[in-house]
Point group: C2
Chain length 358, copies 2
Amino acid sequence: MEQAARRSTIADVARAAGVSKAAVSFAFNTPERLSAETVSRIREIATTLEYRPDPVARMLAQRRTWTIGILTPQGLDVIFTNPYFGEFTAGVATAAEAAGLAIQFISPLHGSLTRAVDRASVDGIITVGLGADHPEVGQIRRSGLPFVVVDSTGLPDEPAIEVDDEGGARLAAEHLVGLGHRDFLVIGIEPPSATSGLEPAGVTARRLRGYDAGVAAAGLHLTEDDMVVGPASMEGGTDAFRRAWAAGARPTAVLVMSDAMAIGAMHAARDLGLRVPEDVSIIGYDDVDVAQFTDPPLTTVHQPIRQKGEEAVRLLLAGGRHRDEGSLEQQLLETRLVVRGTTARAPRGRGEVVDDGR
Amino acid sequence: MEQAARRSTIADVARAAGVSKAAVSFAFNTPERLSAETVSRIREIATTLEYRPDPVARMLAQRRTWTIGILTPQGLDVIFTNPYFGEFTAGVATAAEAAGLAIQFISPLHGSLTRAVDRASVDGIITVGLGADHPEVGQIRRSGLPFVVVDSTGLPDEPAIEVDDEGGARLAAEHLVGLGHRDFLVIGIEPPSATSGLEPAGVTARRLRGYDAGVAAAGLHLTEDDMVVGPASMEGGTDAFRRAWAAGARPTAVLVMSDAMAIGAMHAARDLGLRVPEDVSIIGYDDVDVAQFTDPPLTTVHQPIRQKGEEAVRLLLAGGRHRDEGSLEQQLLETRLVVRGTTARAPRGRGEVVDDGR
DNA sequence: ACGGTCCACTAAACCGGTTTGCTAAACCGC
DNA sequence: GCGGTTTAGCAAACCGGTTTAGTGGACCGT
């Protein structure tokens, strides 16, 4: 991929029009500083010369790139095929487009996220799923770039967008308890890399706490031991359910932390001869678009995914301050239960009986 | 979003180290031009000063942005939520990452694709679903930027990646004909904007021709009149099927040009009380990941989506020339039929009988 | 002692724009 | 006709790097 053919520059236009470079710049950016005739003459010449200001030179001179970055610890290949990320990004894109901003994805470059951050030319960054105490967030903080963290509790006084993960998870568990379920399996999202286990500020930990709070009404207690984790994809869900089954788990209800995984788990359950929801209830998380289109439609916890994206850029543009002037910089969005077709009353006479047999 | 705090520049490092700016530059880019001690001294000072080369300044000086653009006529919000695009982009991202390149999305800015192209700072462009005769492609061609067109026949001698759309479609139709179907509905992808109708070089037209060729064996003929179109999303598919049904169509088989739409159509069919595949067979196109996870799993035409993305960047990097030196610049990738669970023998005694009654 | 090579490094031009004084002419009221 | 204000446009600095041409000194063989 070699260089583009030589294109006309601002100097060419200036020469052709017999004016200074400054005048050409004015003609496009602040035409009111020039007489009307001069402006139109310069513009005409620019058109015939097919002049187009070099965006990079402009960025350097203005020290603005008109671009915001989305920072994720996962690789781009998983981002783009994950419906949750897709919808989140769509939200970001919508708000960015409205503000005339481009978006750039910042994800590990040759395995190094730090390097990727260094190479990114952006005016601000939205981090998603990255704890405020992660080294890369520290790197951004030191660099002085404005940023907003999403899906991870921010440091106090730093802008963040969160949803009520715990509350939503509790609703899900309570729903199943109400249907008579007592044998649960939790399918969780694997932490991005094997850095640490369950960070308490992480999404996975928060949702697990919510599930646990929900089953407490039935006198039950859920811990990491009742959970199997995997990547947040359909394959990941299939695989997680199979592993749990192979390890002897015989739940009547499965609490899944992502819709994609829930769809995969449903598939795996059916492969094993289980009917959904008659034999096993499954409840997802996120309420992505596709959740309405599964068969039966997926019961899940709704969170305003696109809205998160839009709010994140608003917050970024506002410099961390809220629209209603000076209010808190941390925003907690609501979640709610959406009951559709994958949950039903617990099958009778199970739970106590079969749990170890084979 | 104001400017970042002042960061140290190459001049600061040079001053602190008592060397010239050039030396600092060399220390990072061509260390062999300096003595080992000098290099390490400069690097140390750079580290303590938290120096990080400004990527924009570097781009300007090198006249390379290390970025490739993906140009689509659709808005980013539809791109990111469309599984086909997601997988294609994942392919691009994989190959780009390997080459140390970032990717940037170029899509209509405030409604203007031309403006978006002007503002993009990229070294090369991959256009997807945009005819080689479109004005924006002309714009790119004139600008001298290398580019590759995907999903649209390129001009001769211009690099392009295509799949055998027509052949795949034919396979799909033949499969259904072989199962005894005679009453077809085609659900097509709506052209990006209302620019023109069916351009013969477009994906939709090619697939339609393939379907038509496939049913020809049964003495049938398919035209645009047998087709209903909509946006390439699940909702689009649901909507399209409903419209067709409301207009009196009573097909025993539906040929859908996108998996997302096929899933939507399946949903709509069931809402209308139809069983899939007993009452109506449905066949998609693309074989996106989710196609394996529908219930029943979707019969569809496979195309190598990710591979298209990877090949596109390879071709771009090779400057349009193929790896095996000098061969043709146009690549035609294969499609194949994947029979899963949404197609079955045509229901008996239908077709001739019910077609108008109610 | 001398010209020639190498080595390690520097000075300055350059990339292509924006922006900040500044100036010359036009315009103004009186 | 004169000081004061606008207006229209220019020259030059600047953004922060890369890259080219060049320089001074050490080293070398004779």
